[in-house]
């Protein structure tokens, strides 16, 4: 193809001469591309946010707790949580090859408790835990230290508090290590402050069920059991050796628990793998629905381009005849009309990308989440617009290229 730049220019001039229809087609393509881009960015950013926040649970984390039989509310049910301190101690005794660390969690069903400092109070969740919980739960401390084994063993009244508890009771910049808080008339000495965790996105989509990791008070599980007057452990938290060994770790724990209780209890297990799968499924559904919508918009835009190109071929039949009479080959004519079609689509694509960025800015301002447009989404947007242009322009361009010059010149 000779004088390519000039031929590109010819195509560009031609679309400028049919402004109204060109603009209509551009709008159609732009809406489609903006939709493709918005869906792409939302899906990517959503995945990134959710994974980042899921990591705050520890990706190898597993949960084991008693499964309550809901089928028959009148059936007599065995008392207790189905997990005791002895079970926990048995499990820590190198029982399970796929379990790296284990921690008991003790809590009550009304998990929000009033925590006081003088006349100031805050409603926080109180959990009795072991030394390993921080590691399993991917927690770290911004101040102070973790529990010592001796403090757990001796049922010491010490506590780790979340950042929100600190801010509510003492203020953001206060030095709280060694200070005391009151819970159920029990005095707790603060030995550490948990580093803030961001679960805003999971919280925004309702996945945290109102539970706020930054509003926790952790105490030795032995001390909480003493307050509650029970040896029950409500949940076992464990860290599996790897993501692959999560199911095996759960099997090892539940086998031992079942054996120790002669199969009198059934156990419910959870792992991050399940959460990740659920998240992927939700994101996939959003992507499919969004892509379907974007496709409809793109098809409508493509039909617009097809229309404008078909009309252009009819209106410019005589021009096609003139060009052929002075030496344009079928390929030259095909190239010119195909380029016009691609130009319209690419302009639509660029407008769509700008529109998509504007939509994302509005969404960022509205939601407060920093959505980052991935470069590949921009690339996909442009690629899709070129493909739409070629597909929509091919038939009209082919028709134009196949006309005989005499037939085209006779056209009135």
């Amino acid at each position: 193809m000779n004088n390519l730049a000039e031929k590109f220019q010819q195509a560009f001039r031609a679309i400028k001469e049919n402004r109204t229809r060109t603009i209509m087609s551009i709008v159609g393509i732009a809406v489609g591309i903006a939709a493709v881009m918005t869906i792409g960015v939302l899906s990517q950013s959503g995945k990134r946010f959710i994974y980042a926040e899921l990591e705050t649970y520890g990706l190898n984390s597993v949960w084991v707790y008693r499964k309550w039989e809901q089928d028959s509310p009148f059936a007599a049910q065995r008392q207790g949580s189905g997990i005791t301190t002895d079970d926990y101690l048995a499990l820590t005794d190198n029982c399970c090859s796929e379990v790296v660390s284990l921690s008991p969690v003790v809590y009550t069903t009304d998990w929000l408790k009033t925590i006081r400092v003088g006349s100031t109070f805050n409603k926080s969740s109180v959990e009795g835990v072991g030394v390993n919980l921080l590691k399993i739960n991917n927690d770290s401390l911004s101040e102070g230290r973790n529990f010592r084994s001796s403090e757990i063993r001796k049922r010491k009244n010490v506590a780790l508090i979340g950042q929100k508890v600190k801010e509510a009771l003492f203020g953001e910049n206060a030095n709280v290590i060694g200070k005391t808080i009151k819970f159920d008339n029990v005095q707790l000495t603060i030995i550490g402050v948990l580093k803030e965790k961001n679960r805003d996105f999971l919280s925004a989509i309702g996945a945290t069920q109102g539970y706020d990791e930054n509003n926790r008070v952790l105490i030795p599980y032995t001390f909480y059991q003493q307050i509650l007057g029970s040896k029950d452990i409500h949940t076992l938290r464990a860290e599996a050796r790897s993501k692959k060994s999560v199911n095996k770790a759960l099997d090892q724990i539940t086998d031992i628990l079942s054996r120790r209780h002669n199969n009198q209890y059934k156990y419910q297990t959870e792992s991050m793998e399940g959460w990740i799968q659920t998240t992927d499924e939700i994101l996939k559904t959003i992507s499919i629905l969004g892509t379907a919508g974007a496709l409809v918009a793109l098809i409508v835009g493509g039909i617009g381009v097809f229309n404008i190109m078909s009309s252009a071929v009819i209106e410019r039949t005589r021009e096609i005849g003139i060009r052929k009479a002075i030496g344009a080959s079928p390929q030259d004519i095909m190239f010119q009309f195909l380029m016009e079609s691609v130009y319209i689509s690419v302009i639509g694509g660029v407008v769509g990308i700008i529109l998509g960025i504007a939509i994302l800015i509005v969404m960022i301002l509205w939601s407060g989440f920093m959505l980052s447009p991935a470069w590949f989404v921009l690339f996909v947007g442009l690629l899709v617009s070129v493909l739409v242009g070629i597909s929509a322009g091919y038939l009209p361009a082919r028709h134009a290229s196949k006309m005989t010059p005499a037939e085209a010149l006779r056209f009135e």
């Binding site: 000779n2 004088n3 000039e6 031929k7 001039r13 001469e17 005589r318 021009e319 005849g321 003139i322 060009r323 052929k324 009479a325 002075i326 030496g327 344009a328 080959s329 079928p330 390929q331 030259d332 005989t404 010059p405 005499a406 037939e407 010149l409």
Partner: protein
């Protein structure tokens, strides 16, 4: 140079075939100045489109410069139209959104000539037809005679051997007609073969050979 042997051209209309040309035999030599005349519907324009490779005969043989045009692929026909033949039409057939210069550049664009050479040669061709001052004018900003001169510049810019003109003065006044025919005479004198269709009997005097058509047949040569 140009030979037609038993050329027929049929058009299909509502299931019936109409003969626009019927057993036409013709010989045009290099340097001829040929006028084709005849009443409306006699097949003049059809003959011209076949001579100009704008259409192909339904049967018969067309030989151009010793080569048969039959079954020549469209890409090759485009090359012949670009390099060997220059066209001038009654209604000028300029691209209305292009300036005179760009209209004249167009055949060279399809010939693959570099942009700077195209511009230079287009300006020279327009100078040669007396439009050196009108390079940047659009067709709508020029008279009929000037537009036809742009069309002639476009027809000669690739230096073809044959100029084919279909009623080139049909839309012009007497003064412009004389100017255009004078240009054709100059092109003929420079060695080109000129073939033109006309209704105007006074223009036949320019031609060295006159072909009269009636009912799709050559009635005398």
């Amino acid at each position: 140079m140009i030979t037609l042997l038993d050329v027929n051209k049929l058009y299909e209309k509502e299931g019936e075939f109409l003969a626009a040309l019927y057993d036409v035999n013709l010989q045009i030599d290099r340097g001829d100045f040929v006028a084709i005349t005849g009443p409306s519907g006699s097949g003049k324009s059809t003959l011209l489109t076949i001579l100009g490779c704008l259409d192909t005969p339904s049967s018969g043989q067309y030989i151009l410069d010793g080569h048969s045009i039959d079954n020549t692929p469209e890409v090759e026909l485009a090359r012949i139209r670009n390099k060997q033949i220059g066209f001038v039409f009654q209604s000028f057939n300029l691209i209305p959104t292009y300036t005179a210069l760009r209209n004249v550049e167009l055949p060279m664009l399809y010939a693959g000539m570099p942009a700077d050479l195209r511009t230079k040669r287009a300006a020279l061709a327009l100078n040669a037809v007396g439009l050196g001052e009108r390079l940047a004018h659009l067709p709508a900003e020029m008279s009929g005679g000037q537009q036809q001169r742009v069309a002639i510049a476009r027809a000669i810019v690739n230096n073809p051997n044959v100029i084919i003109a279909d009623e080139p003065t049909g839309s012009l006044d007497d003064e412009s007609t004389a100017e255009i025919m004078e240009l054709f005479s100059q092109l003929h004198q420079s060695g080109r073969t000129i073939i033109f269709v006309t209704h105007n009997l006074s223009l036949l005097s320019y031609a060295s050979k006159v072909i009269r058509l009636s009912g799709g047949k050559i009635v005398n040569e």
